[in-house]
């Protein structure tokens, strides 16, 4: 007999998508959050509207780990189509909750796990008239069953229902009736389990929020001053643009009684990027959001913006590629594509948020960087960060003045004239590679220039001259070098004397944090560097130099970030051992520990 753990539990709910389980899972997750227990959720859903299997994992972690756990304690087996495999996903000694309205077929029986049945179909039939709603409400039965089994108070459930459906009393009532039916059924039956108990932690999640990275980025963009937004629907980035559509009317102050923003659903990603380029050229803070295939289509426009030096922000929520790949699964496999987007020699600034606050903060700052460097800036997320719900500290606004970069208005140009200076659009006046810029509408006679994606000289005149051409290309490289001093620095955690390092970025941060604790418990202490941007800053080679071996965790097959680091620091690159997870699922600490220990053993052998 196991001793039940306290607040340490990983539940996996197997259902069909389109069956309403998003709603029941959300209630379950928020109830655990409301109890004050650190918790996270991972939604593994198909590219489909209705009928394909979907899994939702809720992890309660007394230790506060938020990454996906690869050991499943409880399987809610509510999808017949996957049941035969689902029974083996749960760990030995785990629990399977199933609908026993009909007897369990022999092939779904497995040794070493506990089965608890709840007649969901029968219960819901009594409570909900035959309708499409009945199938959805059936999922509420398992919410009640789990609440009883693990100790979620019905008052907490009621409070969550109130938060979620506050203005729809009928919905609250019908959901509550189904949840209560599941709860009461197991209570009357006297069902018990010994896996875990969920216990209220007073003030445990006090002040904490639940949100997703796409929403946090959309809010960051609004606070960063995005005013022209153009996008084309694509999973997993659509919800970023939809969050903008939701929040802009609420947050952006009206001007002249009208809207101080434009948001356009474009006809394709090429047009979306084209509108960003046009708006950025004309002086607005412009952005788009997309995912891999859309980024591919945007490449020509990105090259134009790079070469003609036009600001714009591109939010890239990465999914499983190549091609259509796994559109509803997570990956970090577009790093190379972003870094060198478009034809010809290009290099781009990429910001790499890893949690909700950095999504908000880096989204906001991306507009300053785009204006400062007059270039496309990428904010790179992945599906795990962008679409899953994360508990987080509240979003914090760093009150800083917008950096509009070297943008000259008519008055400033007049001062230049008085000082005998000439405005030269593509000339490196200050030696930092960044030229000065005017925008259309500037009435000063010196202001207008002709922007083009074809060869041009320092005065923006058409030129095919080899010196003119090379001057611009070299200055663009110089500008990129300057960017190293402006982009967010890595976050480093280190202890003296530790010679093993770990580097990661984006959504790998949480599993890496957990994996490092586990490695420490097994005697391997590690230091950590969280990359937050490209170009690389000086902290990266320093970190490599200080360690004997550095494990670089990333979610792609080809070690794309490692390639960038090795290319820039070939002497230090040999210390990197890549730890790669690219099956489309959110990274688990268990997988990282396994790979790191294996790599250590094979190095020692």
């Amino acid at each position: 007999m196991e001793t039940p753990s306290i607040n340490d539990l990983n539940i996996c709910v197997a259902t069909e998508n389109g069956s309403g389980s998003a709603s029941s899972n959300n209630i379950l997750f928020k109830a655990i959050f409301k109890m004050g227990i650190p918790c996270s959720s991972k939604n593994m859903f198909p590219s489909n509207i209705q009928g394909l299997p979907t899994w939702y994992q809720i992890r309660a972690s007394a230790e506060g780990y938020l990454s996906r756990k690869d050991v499943i304690d409880v399987m809610v087996m509510f999808n017949d189509a996957t049941a035969a495999k689902d029974i083996y996903r749960v760990r030995d000694g785990g629990l399977i909750l199933f609908d026993d309205s009909a007897p369990l077929p022999a092939h779904l029986k497995r040794e070493g796990v506990q089965y608890i049945g709840v007649p969901a179909n029968k219960l819901v039939a009594k409570l909900v008239p035959a309708s499409p709603l009945r199938a959805k409400q059936r999922n509420m039965i398992y919410v009640g069953a789990l609440a009883y089994l693990f100790g979620i108070d019905m008052d907490v459930i009621k409070a969550v229902l109130q938060d979620t459906f506050g203005n729809k009393p009928a919905v609250i009532e019908s959901n509550l009736a189904c949840i209560d039916a599941g709860y009461q059924y197991l209570k009357e039956k006297g069902a018990t389990q010994n896996i875990a108990r969920l216990q209220v932690i007073p003030n445990g999640n006090k002040g904490k929020i639940i949100t997703d990275g796409n929403t946090a980025c959309a809010l960051g963009a609004i606070f960063g001053g995005a005013s022209v937004i153009s996008w084309y629907p694509i999973t997993p980035s659509s919800s970023l643009a939809e969050a903008l559509e939701h929040y802009l009317p609420r947050l952006r102050k009206k001007r002249d009684g009208k809207r101080a923003y434009a948001i356009v659903q474009a006809e394709d990603e090429i047009a979306a990027a084209g509108m960003v380029v046009g708006a950025g050229w004309a002086g607005a803070r412009a952005m788009t959001s997309t995912s891999g295939p859309g980024l591919s289509l945007m490449n020509e426009m990105i090259g134009l913006a790079y070469y003609a030096e036009i600001p714009g922000v591109f939010f890239i929520v990465q999914r499983g590629g190549p091609s259509t790949g796994l559109p509803t699964r997570t990956q970090q496999a577009d790093i190379s594509l972003m870094y060198g987007a478009s034809h010809g020699d290009t290099r781009h600034i990429i910001l790499l948020p890893h949690d909700m606050n950095s999504c908000f903060d880096l989204a906001r700052r991306s507009f300053d960087l785009a204006d400062r460097f007059q270039t496309p800036v990428f904010v790179a997320l992945d599906l795990d960060l962008g679409m899953n719900l994360w508990s987080s500290e509240p979003l914090k606004l760093q009150k800083e003045p917008f950096d509009w970069g070297k943008r000259l208005n008519a008055q400033q140009l007049e001062e230049w004239v008085k000082a005998g200076k000439k405005f030269r659009r593509y000339f490196d006046q200050d030696g930092d590679g960044i030229p000065y810029r005017t925008v259309p509408g500037n009435p000063h006679p010196m202001a207008p220039y002709f922007t083009r994606g074809s060869g041009h000289d320092a005065d923006a005149r058409y030129s095919e001259d080899e010196h003119d051409y090379k001057y611009i290309l070299d200055r663009l490289r110089r500008k990129f070098e300057t960017a190293r001093k402006y982009v967010p620095k890595p976050i480093i955690e280190k202890e003296k004397g530790v010679r093993t390092g770990v580097i990661c970025y984006g959504s790998s941060y949480e599993p890496v944090r957990e994996a490092r604790d586990r490695l420490k418990a097994r005697g391997l202490k590690t230091n950590h560097l969280l990359l937050r941007a490209l170009p690389l800053t000086s902290e990266v080679p320093e970190f490599l130099a200080e360690h004997d071996v550095v494990y670089l965790v990333e979610q792609n097959r080809d070690a794309q970030m490692a390639a960038i680091i090795k290319d820039e620091y070939p002497g230090l690159g040999a210390k990197i051992i890549s730890v790669l997870v690219y099956n489309g699922l959110p990274v688990t600490a268990g997988e990282l520990v396994r790979q790191i220990l294996e790599a250590r053993e094979s190095a020692a052998a």
Partner: protein, 342 residues
């Protein structure tokens, strides 16, 4: 010096010039540029309030050759519509003129072109249509007529896209066709387009003297001149001119534009009401069937609002808003945070 003609904002025709042209000698595109300069001069438009946009190709080079005091943007092949849409949203106070070609508009950029018109983005969009890819040395474009012969003898066996018909169907609100050599008709049509608020599409037949001016071509100078079918003579009357046009009751058609200016269409051969969409499409079809180029203001819709108005954009251009306009307060973020605690 006093005899130099000045317009109402005291500018001379020289003030509307640009860099020297690099087109082939005799190219129709240069004639169009001349009409563009004439139209801006005659309408007394401040070049500092104009933005010039184009795609890629011979035609798309020409914005460098007029209005040197305006900001210009020679973007990528076929995507000027999208770039212009973005620029228009960023600053709807500026007057956009787009110059494109038939390869740019009717082939690679067709999708973006259609959606710009569908949105009725405010722009004067001129297609310098010669039925051929000039800059890549003479391939057929999507507006080449069926049966038209390429310089090397190859015959085009795919039907042409009629850009005027497409524009009428897809929501453009001012659609004209003209000929590069007919400045008398073209300049007032451009003036009308500049006064119009919405997508104004001018399909201007502009023979390519180098690659499409031979026997067998239906876009050669000789062929086009022999097949023009003007619906009307066109007069443009700006809002400030209180003059009575040479106006015949019952036979001429007057079109009032958004800024109070007027276009007077003097009937030539047939009764024609350009606000009748059905009639416009029928007339284009009939002319194509006869192998003719119907020219004039083919379609006009005064009732649809332009995209920036549709989006209810504030009067101040978005590009001129500052942090105090754009950034919500910390208190508003607190409220959002509170909503995420539920």
């Amino acid at each position: 010096m006093t005899d130099v003609k000045r317009n109402r904002i005291n500018l001379t025709e020289k003030d509307y010039e640009g860099a020297p042209s690099t087109m082939c000698r005799g190219c129709g595109h240069d004639a169009i540029s001349a009409s563009v300069m004439r139209a801006f001069f005659e309408s007394s438009i401040d070049p500092r309030k104009v933005i010039k946009l184009s795609g890629i190709g011979c035609s798309s080079k020409t914005p460098a050759y007029f209005l040197g005091q305006s900001f210009g943007f020679n973007a990528v092949h076929g995507r000027m519509s999208a770039v212009a849409t973005g620029a228009n949203l960023a600053n709807h106070k500026l007057l956009p003129i787009g110059i494109s070609g038939d390869g740019d508009t009717a082939a690679i950029g067709l999708g973006n072109f259609c959606h710009m018109m569908r949105r009725n983005v405010n722009i004067t969009y001129i297609v310098e249509n010669n039925g051929v890819y000039g800059l890549t040395k003479g391939q057929f474009s999507a507006t080449a007529d069926i049966g038209s012969v390429m310089k090397g003898g190859k015959v085009n066996d795919i039907p042409a896209i009629d850009l005027a018909e497409l524009a009428i169907t897809l929501g453009a609100t001012y659609v004209a066709r003209s000929f590069s050599g007919d400045r008398k008709q073209l300049a007032p049509l451009i003036q009308g387009a500049l006064a119009h608020r919405g997508s104004a599409i001018l399909d201007v037949i502009s023979p390519c003297v180098t690659f499409n001016n031979h026997e067998g071509s239906t876009k050669s100078l000789k062929y086009v001149k022999g097949h023009l079918d003007p619906i009307h003579d066109v007069d443009f009357i700006p809002p400030y001119e209180n003059i009575e046009a040479d106006y015949e009751e019952g036979t001429d058609h007057e079109v009032r534009l958004h800024d109070g200016s007027r276009i007077v269409l003097h009937k030539l051969s047939k009764d024609y009401d350009p606000t009748d969409k059905g009639q416009a499409i029928t007339a284009v079809h009939a002319a194509v069937a006869e192998g003719k180029f119907l020219t004039g203001l083919i379609y006009y819709n005064p009732n649809r609002i332009d995209f920036a108005t549709e989006l209810d954009l504030c009067d101040t251009p978005l590009a001129e808003l500052g942090q105090e306009d754009l950034q919500p307060t910390a208190e508003q973020l607190d409220e959002i945070n509170a909503s995420f605690m539920k």
